[in-house]
Symmetry: C2
Subunit: 255 residues, 2 copies
């Protein structure tokens, strides 16, 4: 199984945060020890885990830029994983890192002491390919790319794959592309199926389009508001099953 998974795409709103929460929850349900890291200044993962970004005393920013030890940052979540939270302070890091020493290895250094304490670490990236996402890809051994089954999201895939190739060549040769995870697939529309078909035609066999599809359901937005994962909030929706399947495939080493 991957020790560290980055969930990344520069396209906004494709389900990066939702995938991080629900994949982590599924792995926890199967007995794995999981740490999730919020690497987005919006603090979406922190919010979806039931915490208030503005109320944090310390966040991932302090770990990256102020040498705060990791154990002072870790919070619990409603879905059984541990969390390194974030808030708007993290936006400063993007600018401060530009002229910093070993700027893409800050996250790797922060996580190093706990790699053995968890079966896997999952990093939720912000919707841009800057220095924070570079930090995530430099420490990860796998990158999962959610793709909303809509035209503009599909067109964004080439951009993240190009960025990943650069990272593999210059910062982390161990990084593998786990695959493209189809999300927000609306069964009632032709457009979703057409986009999914185009995704397979354009990227396979070089890049895997993960067979597990996460169907669109309003329960996902509702579960984010509840601080729970979809598994406990609305465990019978098809999307919940999809994340459990994804977790199983990762545990079995099929992805």
């Amino acid at each position: 199984m991957y020790e560290c998974i980055a969930v990344a795409s520069q396209k906004g709103g494709v389900g990066k945060t939702t995938t991080t929460v629900n994949l982590a929850a599924s792995l926890v349900e199967m007995g794995k020890r999981v740490l999730v890291v919020d690497l987005d200044p919006q603090g979406g993962l922190t919010l979806a885990s039931g915490h208030e970004p503005d109320a944090l005393e310390k966040s991932v920013y302090d770990g990256l830029m102020k040498d705060e030890p990791l154990e002072n940052l870790v919070l619990t979540t409603g879905f059984g994983a541990d969390l390194i939270p974030s808030n708007v302070d993290l936006a400063l890091a993007e600018i401060e890192l530009v002229n910093a020493f070993a700027r893409e290895r800050r996250l790797a250094a922060l996580l190093a002491p706990v790699r053995d304490a968890y079966d896997t670490i999952i990093i939720d990236c912000q919707p841009s390919l800057g220095l924070l996402t570079l930090n995530a890809l430099a420490v990860a051994d796998g990158v999962l790319i959610p793709v909303a089954c809509e035209y503009l999201a599909m067109r964004a895939v080439k951009g993240i794959l190009t960025f990943v190739k650069k990272v593999q060549a210059q910062a982390n040769s161990q990084l593998k592309v786990i695959g493209l995870l189809p999300t927000m697939f609306d069964k009632r529309t032709r457009h979703a199926q057409e986009t999914f078909d185009a995704l397979k035609k354009t990227f396979e066999p070089k890049v895997r389009v993960i067979g597990t599809i996460v169907y669109r359901s309003i329960r996902f937005a509702e579960s984010a508001a509840s601080g729970e994962s979809i598994l406990t909030y609305a465990g019978s929706v098809p999307g919940a099953e999809a994340y459990r399947e994804l977790a199983k495939a990762l545990i079995r080493g099929e992805l």
Copy 2:
């Protein structure tokens, strides 16, 4: 009417690009001369306008960083507005601008020669509050904030409003918040109405929640693939009417 509108939010996938295309198309339909600017390295607006970001000889990056005159950058669109396109080169600008002179006024300088040639300029921002979005807010006299009617998008509103306040205080005192534009409102769900109600309760009367709601429709994703606006692709969907109403309200100075 606003001379220059920035469409901004750090939350991804809330309809920034879709709003830029369809508001521009609605204003053109009402006889206005409109320029749209793609300030997102993903090139979503460029794609939705029927162009290929990777095939561009020059883009907004060249105008911002290489003193390329604007007239060498302007393209036409399928919805009657002019476009300054972008592609992945623009991602370099975010880093190159950090140590540049007058770094937040580069876009203002690029647009200055054509301000009189258009009734309004609309800038599509990327999903982050960095130097590119700062450039947009520094030149705009109005900022439109799309908010998907879902929990995580609502929670992101405070972040963009705080950023706007900073810009108003330090870079552009003329900048006004046009309002929060409710998007992707799914009539079939309670969650959308609850989010909309929470939006009004949390932000009004200080910030206007625009009464025109853009309802969810797959036709928006399809129209982006066609290079047309929703007005010509599927003009009878409720969302199309919403953008026309928004354009009217802007022309009449009601917003």
